[in-house]
């Protein structure tokens, strides 16, 4: 049951590199996820405002709006959606890392992305909805 819910999850991938985006989509769809893609933070926010999104995967280095600026806006729009930040560089500022739920170096993407998505989405499924007072 949980496995089915995990694989029905909708992922939003944002990266300014079309090749990386295409690979992320092919990779994640192969493992049963529904994938939305955007080439910029602005387009990602537009998609997130009209589609339900379970987990967000965003590159840090992007023109116009970087991953940190995107994460601030995304947390306001959909605070319950975990954000995984990616970067080819390892010197991502602490302020950016504090905003997101996980960080993956792009070199370790194929080995770390699937378990990280599953873990974060499972945490969301297990937690009470926002505004719920137990």
């Amino acid at each position: 049951m949980v496995q089915e819910a995990l694989q029905r999850a909708v992922l939003l991938c944002i990266d300014d590199n079309q090749d990386v985006l295409d690979c992320e989509r092919a990779f994640l769809e192969t493992f049963g996820y529904t994938v939305l893609t955007a080439l910029s933070g602005r387009k990602g926010l537009e998609l997130a405002s009209v589609h339900p999104v379970d987990v967000v995967i965003v590159d840090y280095v992007m023109p116009e709006m970087n991953g940190q600026e995107f994460a601030i806006k995304m947390k306001r729009l959909r605070p319950q959606a975990p954000i995984i930040m990616l970067s080819a560089a390892l010197d991502v500022p602490k302020e950016a890392l504090n905003l997101v739920d996980a960080f993956i170096a792009k070199d370790h993407l194929s080995s770390q992305l699937l378990p990280m998505i599953a873990q974060l989405h499972q945490d969301v499924l297990a937690s009470p909805p926002l505004g719920y007072d137990a």
């Binding site: 690979c23 990779f27 192969t30 792009k106 070199d107 993407l109 194929s110 080995s111």
Partner: protein
């Protein structure tokens, strides 16, 4: 699943300089049943081809 979706006998030589792209493509193709040899550049790819052809010629 049809045989087109599970082409276990096919080997793919994948050449891409971007680690993230190469690793995700490798994982995707392997999951679909392909055998993948990944090379980070043309020289690596050519070395693999020469080595494979050399072995074929001498067996």
């Amino acid at each position: 699943m049809t045989s087109l979706e599970k082409p276990t006998a096919h080997k793919v030589l994948l050449v891409d300089g971007d680690n993230a792209v190469r690793e995700m493509m490798t994982a995707t193709l392997e999951h679909k049943g392909f055998e993948v040899v990944a090379a980070a550049n043309v020289s690596e790819a050519l070395r693999f081809i020469y080595y494979t052809e050399f072995r074929r010629a001498h067996h």
